[in-house]
């Protein structure tokens, strides 16, 4: 699976460069990382001992369709695993998506939109997904994810 499949990298290679809404390149990578999650990440990566109902493989990804913050959080986790399994340089996307997920989550909480069961579930799932990233990162002996993400946020080094 190649991260650049289905993506154009420069306006010259795009078939419709003028009609495309300008979006940050990392948002275009979300479908790739969600797909990578579906195909390559199982419950063991979340330190689950079993998953008879395929929550990690199916239900979690279904939930991402209802929440942008969860989408970013799952993409961040997927990027982290991708950086370990395939290409270490992709770790920066973990930080980018992690920060975006926190921003979206903060907005969701501040707007008091957690009034339905569905939004409560997606909000909690986002928090747990972000916590899983931290647990994974610390477990593999690479502390400082939070610091990196926060410093990225404060520098505003990427377009939100």
């Amino acid at each position: 699976m190649n991260i650049y499949d289905g993506l154009y990298t420069s306006p010259e290679t795009s078939p419709f460069p003028l009609f495309r809404t300008p979006r940050p390149i990392h948002d275009d990578l979300i479908p790739f990382f969600l797909s990578y999650h579906r195909q390559n990440i199982n419950y063991g990566r979340y330190f689950w001992y079993s998953d008879p109902h395929q929550f990690i493989k199916e239900s979690l990804l279904d939930l991402t369709k209802q929440s942008e913050s969860l989408q970013y959080a799952v993409a961040a986790f997927s990027a982290l695993i991708y950086s370990i399994q395939v290409d270490q340089r992709m770790k920066r996307f973990t930080f980018l998506f992690y920060s975006k997920a926190i921003q979206e989550l903060r907005q969701a909480i501040n707007s008091s939109s957690i009034n339905s069961e569905a939004s409560m579930c997606t909000t909690v799932a986002t928090i747990l997904e972000l916590a899983s990233i931290e647990v994974c990162y610390i477990t593999w002996g690479q502390k400082g994810l939070m610091i990196s993400a926060l410093s990225l946020m404060s520098l505003n080094a990427f377009d939100m």
């Binding site: 689950w48 001992y49 079993s50 929550f55 957690i114 909690v124 799932a125 928090i127 747990l128 916590a131």
Partner: protein
């Protein structure tokens, strides 16, 4: 994690959350991360233990109606999941015990005696819980083992000592995780219990000495 706990407590309750499959999965996920944090940081969980008890109760209720409908393979997977969740429920008691240790170091007099007694009773409770779970009708057949019947050979056989126990296999290999969890918890508590008992003895003897008439 305390944010997730707060959302749970303000937006729903244990019964409502654990009544849906999605809710039970979210709660399982939450419990796993909370357990890790509590054991690493020696602190109590953010949710009251009643939430886990409710999850256990509802799982048990659902099991009674759903187990007969499952195929043999599905049933074993499902039992494994339920039993492991029940095994890890004891971690709240472990975290509770661990969180009192820093206070034990600072406390004196009656308060110290209270903490020692609390720790000892918590540890005995954990050992009994693990033992009863291991001997339960659901777990016993799941962790059944059989001897391999021949000496275990590996690439380290020539350089490393032999296994300290006869090699065996699990009849249902994924259930090895239950065995490991139960053994790990039992060993952890068994190793620490004598220290607490020694503290109890030393406290009793010092009390006895101080009360002896001159």
């Amino acid at each position: 994690m305390s944010g997730a706990a707060q959302i749970f407590q303000t937006q729903t309750n244990a019964t409502q959350l654990c009544s849906s499959s999605l809710g039970r999965h979210l709660f399982k996920w939450y419990s796993l991360i909370e357990d890790e944090c509590c054991l690493l940081l020696s602190c109590r969980g953010a949710l009251p233990p009643t939430w886990r008890q409710e999850d256990f109760r509802i799982r048990k209720l659902i099991a009674a109606s759903e187990y007969p409908l499952l195929s043999k393979d599905e049933l074993r997977l499902r039992i494994l999941d339920d039993v492991l969740q029940a095994t890890l429920d004891i971690i709240t008691a472990m975290a509770d015990g661990l969180s009192t240790v820093p206070e034990l170091n600072r406390a004196t007099g009656d308060r110290r005696a209270e903490i020692i007694a609390h720790l000892e009773s918590t540890m005995i409770y954990i050992i009994n819980y693990v033992q009863s779970l291991r001997n339960s009708q659901l777990v016993m057949p799941l962790i059944q083992t059989f001897e391999v019947g021949f000496p275990w050979k590996s690439k380290h056989s020539t350089c490393c000592p032999e296994l300290p126990f006869p090699p065996f296999r699990f009849a249902y290999p994924p259930a090895g995780m239950i065995f490991i969890c139960l053994e790990a918890i039992r060993l952890y508590v068994t190793v620490h219990l004598p220290y607490i008992r020694a503290l109890t003895r030393s406290r009793l003897s010092s009390t006895h000495l101080s009360r002896q008439p001159e």
